[in-house]
Amino acid sequence: MLGTGLLKGLGVTAKNFVGSYHDPERYTTIEYPEVKPKLPEAYRNFPFLVTENAMDPMGTLRCVACQICEKECPPQCIYIEKSKDKKPDASGKMQIYPAIFDIDTSVCMSCQICVEVCPFDAIKMDQVFEIATTDRYDALLLRREQLAKPNSYYQSIHPTEAAEVDGRLAADRKAAEEKAKAAAAAKAAAAKAAAAAPAAEAPKTPPPAA
């Protein structure tokens, strides 16, 4: 009969209209500025730089200004200048640091390729999205002071990923320390052996095995 399709369709709209008052499947909007959306952990927006110590963000940047992200960034929104001097990093090793680290967020497309290519886990994706501004130029060009955020912040926005990164870094640091210790021990043993060698001619006690 002509019109049955229409009537059935009207039934569907009626079901949706009524459902939009009580059924969460059909009422899916939220009152945004008052109610914030719950972001998934993987959500990414512009990058930020990880610092070890929130008290001294510029002194403890993980970034060593290797400029890999600058080269790999598809829209080329990163600008880095290396420092002339070196500073000790978290593990005490002397490293170059970025004297200038700028990200132009008006160009950045949040693709996270910088994060993927960074060998030092120094740059990570942020979850800030309310950055609307009336200034097109300066307010959207983020300097290293604005980009630097502590590791605890990273742990709060990407807990799973951060735990994995921290574990890896701690293992690396431990391995480096053990290597340094082993190297120092070997050096000391070698020095001892060298010192013991002339004395070894006369006494009966053999030198300890290194």
């Binding site: 002509l2 019109g3 049955t4 399709g5 229409l6 059935k8 369709g9 039934g11 569907v12 709209t13 079901k15 949706n16 059909r26 899916t28 998934p40 952990e41 993987a42 959500y43 990414r44 890999i68 790999e72 960034c73 598809p74 497309m109 949040s110 693709c111 996270q112 390729i113 993927e116 290519v117 994706m125």
Partner: protein, 390 residues
């Protein structure tokens, strides 16, 4: 009337409507529809010559969204082009990523682990659901069903985008596939979410079809409008649902059987008339087949690595050579043609965009139809201007 009359570069004195004298048809009216017309799906412009309400001539004008995609890709690394492929067709970023990844994998001989192949199929089929749902909504909007079907479609789209966001970090610009696998391993929770979506989607489609498929107004409005003959479709290189609506059995998932598609049991729906209604129906039927594929893939997804351990992210330099990678995207055959000279950047990078090629038959479908039909014919082609103009 000279050819110059239709040139987009010819001075037209700011007029959107003007009279054209044609010795054969008498006084005709030339209307410039777009580039900011709401029915043109972005910045697309049609210069239509009308005899009363009938379309006598239609010239598509595009390029307003040209972003130099191919040249940019020739000046960045292979990896650097991956996020740009998201922006070709913002509805189907996952399939664009996959097509590009396939092209580069062919070029470099990079193997892909099995789990990644399954994840790719799952994401591609979810993308098909997303694209076809949106298309049906937009098509109905073009027909004049203001709002309701489109909002229902967007409500479902939002659920899919939430899935994409929790996996890749971004709703539309996923940037998820990599050469030799995928970027993130989907968690068990994510796969459960995909299963839930798949199970519920059939119910939504039933409801959507109750609303639209049997609706007498829609049938009267779309049946017999914008018919495309299979011969013309083949000659013009039309692919995807547009081609299958004319009755030609050509689906790259069956023809090429790329990825792991040969392991899944699904059918290729075919149309009979090639009109707007068939194009709408084909998409609904394809979504049903996609649900079938998703159920099989989600039930049999193997464990294992998601990335090939030998895959290189940085300093990627394929040997000199060329490769063409293509997949059946939701809109048709999306392909990437790459020529490598052994450097980190492709020497030549070319996109074969399905909506651009499908658009070439627009005039043939619109001739003799009314101007209101031209709008729904364009809507049924399923174009995204980011891909047409690149």
């Amino acid at each position: 009337m000279s050819a110059n009359d239709f040139s987009p570069l010819a001075p037209q004195a700011g007029s959107h409507v003007r009279e054209v004298h044609d010795p054969l048809h008498g006084e005709l009216l030339e209307v410039s529809m777009g580039p900011h017309h709401p029915s043109t799906h972005g910045v697309f412009r049609m210069i239509v010559t009308l005899d009363g309400e009938r379309v006598m001539k239609l010239k598509p004008v595009f390029g307003y969204l040209h972003r130099n995609h191919e040249k940019i890709a020739e000046n960045t690394t292979y990896l650097g082009s991956m996020p740009y492929t998201d922006r070709l067709d913002y509805l189907c970023s996952m399939t664009n990523n996959w097509a590009y990844a396939i092209a580069v994998e062919k070029l470099s001989g990079q193997p892909v682990p099995e789990r990644a192949e399954y994840v790719r199929v799952i994401l591609a089929e979810i993308t098909r659901l997303l694209n076809h749902t949106c298309l049906a909504g937009f098509l109905m909007q073009d027909c004049g069903c203001s709002g309701t079907p489109l909002m229902y479609a967007f409500r479902e789209r939002e659920k899919i985008l939430d899935l994409f966001e929790s996996l890749s970090g971004s709703r539309m610009m996923c940037n998820y596939q990599r050469f030799g696998g995928c970027r993130v391993d989907p968690s068990a929770d994510w796969l459960d979410g995909a299963r839930k979506l798949t199970d519920n989607y059939g119910r939504f489609l039933d409801e959507f079809e109750t609303l639209l498929t049997g609706n007498e107004i829609i049938m009267a409005r779309t049946q017999g409008v914008g018919a495309l003959s299979p011969e013309l479709a083949i000659n013009a290189g039309v692919t995807g649902p547009m081609l299958r609506a004319t009755g030609v059995n050509y689906d790259l998932r069956k023809v090429d059987a790329y990825g792991v598609y040969s392991r899944f049991d699904f059918r290729v729906p075919l149309g009979a008339h090639g009109d707007v209604y068939d194009r709408y129906m084909i998409r609904v039927l394809e979504m049903r087949e996609s649900i079938k594929i998703l159920q099989q893939a989600l039930a049999t997804i193997p464990a294992g690595p998601i990335m090939d351990p030998k895959a290189k992210l940085r300093g990627f330099r394929p040997k000199a050579g060329e490769a063409y990678g293509r997949i059946e995207g939701p809109k048709g055959e999306i392909g990437f043609y790459l020529v490598s000279d052994g450097s980190p950047n492709p020497y030549r990078y070319r996109v074969r965009p399905p909506s651009f090629v499908n658009l070439t038959v627009l005039e043939d479908m619109c001739l003799g139809q009314t101007i209101a039909d031209a709008v729904i014919i364009l809507g049924s082609v399923d174009i995204v201007l980011g891909e047409v103009d690149r």
